[in-house]
Amino acid sequence: MGFFLEALIGGLMAGMLYSLVALGFVLIFKASGVFNFAQGAMVLFAALAMARFAEWLPQWLGLESKLLANLLAFAIATVLMFALAWLIERLVLRYLVNQEAATLLMATLGISYFLDGLGQSLFGSNVYQIDVGMPKDPLFLFESVFEGGVLINQEDIIAAVIAACLVAALSVFFQKTGTGRALRAVADDHQAAQSIGIPLNRIWVIVWCVAGITALVAGIIWGSKLGVQFSLTTVALRALPVVILGGLTSVPGAIIGGLIIGVGEKLSEIYLGPYVGGGIEIWFAYVLALVFLLFRPQGLFGEKIIDRV
């Protein structure tokens, strides 16, 4: 039982991280109807900026405090992501208003390759560390209930709390502010939104900024766990099944989809792995996504698409 719980919690934590990346997809899709293929590249770019500036700043400024260096690096990375959002709108999206979704998708694919290259030529292509001082020691819980207790990473708990705060803030932003309302309006219909005076360009900058911050947070958490390296972009591929499962238009869907996939991967690896020869973790998410595409293409929480014929 203790072992099952441990696997379950481990899965939930991994799922939380998938959710964070998936959230970036959902945000941009919700607000602009664009499936942003570049989200993975944005995670890498943000994490690289964070890791490298945290390393460079103490050298340049002779800073002693690690906390200060991290905070400054975080601020710089945030500004970089904002600048990136602005540039993407200015140079790419502005010319694609009212275009087909497929055109926009291809554009983001291009942005993704560009960002991969730019990030690595600016910041280098080695493996870098992000150390934001998260406690690494494992905790033992429920020692009185089970023999040996349940082992949990403190780091994971902090990551989960951060992710939860981010999600709460985003929900308030989308549901409770006039700007959030304008974002949802733009997502539904570009043309109509413009005709009532919603500035499409500014809305797009805002939503890419928000997605940039989400990417930064995801990048920091993933980066401090696994190190910052090119393979971070493949995390985004892991998040694809998550959005298919949860529904492309649903913030809670991204969270729950991530958790289901995280837990499913871990548990199936442990309990089914021995029968099929292991390696389930690698394909589990994709197979689940395929099943969903067959039987519930809008995902768990997505809006059902009804076409008037």
């Binding site: 309302r181 539904d188 005709s195 009532i196």
Partner: protein, 261 residues
């Protein structure tokens, strides 16, 4: 008709020509719209009515001609800038925000008038809270006016067609426009819905003093509610005047009776 006061020319369309490649959608169209009047643009299918509206709304940029609104000539403006000047529109094929509730849809119409910054909005403090409440009150007023109180929280995608058309009108009204462009407001409606919509259009014109430019395919309804009518056929203007003048115009009769009807 009613004894409302019709003012000076508020919107002046001069010599508009619009081409899509080799297709001439509009050729040398001129007409004016006076303050507080209901001005209809009618014509058979494909006459260029919607193209005309889209030129005024800034969706299309005509190759020739000019449009002057309250003394300001606009050229190369997009629909957002046109909206800022005080021109609102509704859509022929509903362009509502389907996933959002009726209230949220109409609230988006207040977007241009929202002043407080986004942080204050999120935290709901002080002026932002008061502003939201004031806008909300205005929107409730519109909802009462359009008699859709019972549906205020319903996602618009789930409403019947006739009601969606009302929400579309409500969203445009929320902008408190000086000129309201209506693109076939009665298309696809049954007789009862048409009568309701006619009543709303007359009431908007009467109560808010909004100038209305409306496109209609169906001559009957339009003739009853419009002050003046422009008739288009194959992208050219073939008639302009009061409903009675238009009705007795030879060219108009042949365009309608001789071709499609």
């Amino acid at each position: 008709m009613s004894n409302k006061k019709i003012g000076d020319v508020i919107l002046d369309v001069q010599n508009i020509s619009l081409r899509f490649g080799g297709v001439k959608a509009l050729t040398d169209i001129s007409f004016d719209v006076r303050e507080h009047e209901i001005r209809a643009i009618i014509g058979p299918n494909g006459a260029g009515k919607s193209s005309m509206l889209n030129c005024i709304n800034g969706v299309y940029q005509p190759q020739e001609g000019s449009i002057t609104f309250r003394g300001r000539t606009f050229r190369g403006m997009n629909s957002r800038q046109v909206a800022e000047m005080g021109i609102a529109r509704t859509f022929q094929n509903l362009a509502l925000f389907k996933g959002m509730s009726v209230i949220d849809n109409i609230m988006t119409g207040r977007n241009l008038r929202m002043k407080s910054n986004i942080l204050l909005q999120a935290l709901r403090i002080g002026p932002a809270q008061r502003e939201e409440e004031a806008h909300r009150e205005f929107v409730e007023h519109i909802i009462d006016f359009l008699e859709i109180q019972a549906h205020r929280k319903t996602p618009v995608g789930q409403l019947p067609y006739g009601l969606q058309k009302r929400v579309d009108l409500g969203r445009a009204l929320a902008m408190e426009p000086q000129v309201l462009l209506l693109d076939e407001p009665m298309a696809g409606m049954n007789l009862e819905e048409k009568q309701d919509m006619s009543r709303f259009i007359l009431d908007v014109n009467d109560e808010f003093g909004t100038t209305i430019v409306l496109i209609e395919h169906d001559m009957g309804v339009v003739m009853d509610i419009s002050d003046r009518v422009v008739v288009l056929d194959y992208g050219k203007k073939i008639g302009d005047g009061t409903p009675d003048e238009v009705r007795s115009n030879e060219e108009v009769i042949s365009a309608y009776l001789g071709t499609s009807h």
